[in-house]
Symmetry: C2
DNA sequence: ACGGACTGTGGGAGCGCTCCCAGGGGGCTG
DNA sequence: CAGCCCCCTGGGAGCGCTCCCACAGTCCGT
């Protein structure tokens, strides 16, 4: 059906009347080729419609020009799509500049996650981008041990040694709380993210920091653990209202949880922002579509993706060292506060 | 840093005291291996922590066990994320069953799209999944011509020859309109999708069909072309209200456009559903979060992705023929109608 | 005038794997 | 007991490419 098989470097060499090596040099942009030879090779390539076989190249160079992006499937659902879409856009954009391919791996469960290390060892990718790492995750360490450069989205803890790109979680949270305090709110509750992730702990820390700065006390009864889901936001809001009916603001560690909180507040007849101000974290599309529109801490998700990819490429292509980057966040004020 | 290099099939063979071929047979599950030899090989593999190099294998088998999913970047934005997230989940799930890798390619513009054919010719993937094909798209044809199996999400037109998986667009649209008619609506407008895509035309056709069935006339003035975006929905709704202020229902060919329509209706003081009923298409997360929650035609996006992957694998692995599949849709009634 | 450096070139080897084929044993048949 | 088949086995070849190295030619400087 395909007629003749694909031309190889040998075919091109024969056609151009040169050796394989010269063709290879032209393809790889070496300047140790005479203008004449180069022209003949380029002509032959064009005539034959030749495209180098990247698998063969990969075998000898032991580089694949592909990186893996690993995403836990459970977290690609539940309204977290915009986050991953933006991240992918950032990663993909940076990779496109260097013709690096993106291999997307959705991991369903812990078993698959363990398998992953092995599968990645089949040398299909030059490096790995890892999202949603939990504090006691073994995978990042395993990957680095196998000699596979790894960049995390978010660190495992404050002492993270591997490369990572993170948003300024504590700073962003503190900014949100400072703003609420400045607007006269005095009983500012928080719905935290999962506390087995640094992002959860850091945003909680920001809530505390801002209180401390202002000489106020962060009342422990005003902090309720959520899990980054909408349903978690509902539950946490309900507990908070029981425990501290006098609260006048809630800082939720994610937009999704803020949406849950809004729903529960409405159900209990609290007006937003009149009775209770609500602030989220992320500034996803969601935030613009809630009623009322959500004040939130914007994190530069696409930029996080782009930076992760750039760091990884810098390591795989230029042998750069590990790098840790924290990107600034920004408070976006809407009508919920 | 990595210490010793990765073990190869030769290392394993030596360790197990067998030949390379025997190791290869064990790995590939051939049954022409004695129980004894198999056991020794498996032990050696475990001890050495050996993982076959899939690049080397790919070179000789000329299979890569990877498929590409190509998504236009412009359409991965703007609230269309849930669609792609679901599609990717479906694809990824089906691929995981056969250990096939997913290469995600976001295409920014027409130039990149043209380049794609070449890049794909570097033989990094065994097949291609294509999303959002326009009617006069040349890419699908080019890919098939290169001998690369291709499966489309949605057909280019009613006479599509390539493999595709589609939702029942005209049927779903017709069901929506029938429902509106049954509820006593008489002036049912429609906001169409892009008409250079079959999905846009088919949903429009469904709107017409349902009218014809009912012996009603589909008034041309009640159809306005949108482009699947929220902003497009706003504009179309505005034109419709000018042209046909007496309309009492709108069928939008996407949830996103329905969201735009809702906003414009609210702005103009029309009550939904009292004055105007609104129905969308897709049943994305959006639909549950609008005010009022959106009646919509659910399309099984994840199932579309899964089916696409299965068809492609069936072609690349079993040499199956092209296949066209249309999956049923379902009307989900909420409060906007 | 001659050695040396430097440019351009191409063949050999080998990346790690699979597949072809030749071959050695054991069990069965006649 | 010879002959045959069938099961299992392993070495050679080669997938398409890059890299090492050897080599021819040119241009210097002394």
């Amino acid at each position: 059906m395909t007629g003749n098989r694909q031309p190889t470097i040998k075919t091109v060499a024969a056609r151009a009347g040169v050796g394989r090596t010269t063709v290879s040099r032209v393809i790889n942009g070496s300047d140790l080729v005479s203008a004449d030879a180069r022209a003949r090779v380029l002509a032959a390539i064009k005539e034959l419609n030749y495209v180098p076989n990247s698998v063969a190249r990969g075998l000898v160079t032991s580089r694949t020009d592909a990186v893996a992006l690993v995403i836990p499937e459970s977290e690609s659902r539940l309204g977290a799509e915009p986050f991953f879409a933006a991240l992918i856009r950032g990663v993909s954009g940076a990779l496109a500049e260097t013709r690096t391919q993106l291999q997307l791996t959705l991991v369903r469960d812990q078993f698959e996650r363990d398998q992953l290390a092995a599968s990645v060892a089949t040398r299909r990718v030059d490096g790995v981008l890892l999202v949603s790492v939990h504090t006691h995750d073994r995978l990042p360490g395993m990957l680095e041990e196998m000699g596979l450069p790894t960049v995390l989205a978010g660190r495992r803890d404050a002492g993270e040694q591997l490369s990572y790109v993170d948003s300024d979680n504590s700073g962003g949270a503190a900014a949100a709380v400072r703003y609420l305090l400045a607007r006269g709110r005095r009983r500012i509750a928080t719905i935290t993210g999962s506390l087995d992730m640094d992002v959860g702990r850091s945003r909680l820390a920001g809530w505390r920091d801002a209180h401390r700065e202002a000489g106020a006390r962060a009342d422990g009864a005003l902090a309720e653990t959520g899990d980054f889901t909408e349903e978690g936001g509902v539950r946490a809001m309900r507990s908070l209202l029981e425990r501290a009916p006098d609260l006048d603001a809630v800082f939720a560690a994610s937009d999704l949880m803020a949406v849950g909180a809004l729903a529960e507040l409405r159900r209990q007849g609290r007006r937003v922002p009149d009775d209770v101000a609500v602030v989220g974290f992320e500034d996803s599309v969601l935030a613009r579509h809630t009623a009322p529109p959500l004040t939130t801490v914007r994190q530069p998700v696409e930029e996080v993706g782009r930076t992760m990819a750039r760091i990884l490429l810098d390591i795989t292509q230029n042998g750069a060292d590990r790098r840790q980057v924290t990107l600034p966040t920004e408070l976006v004020v809407r009508e919920s506060s």
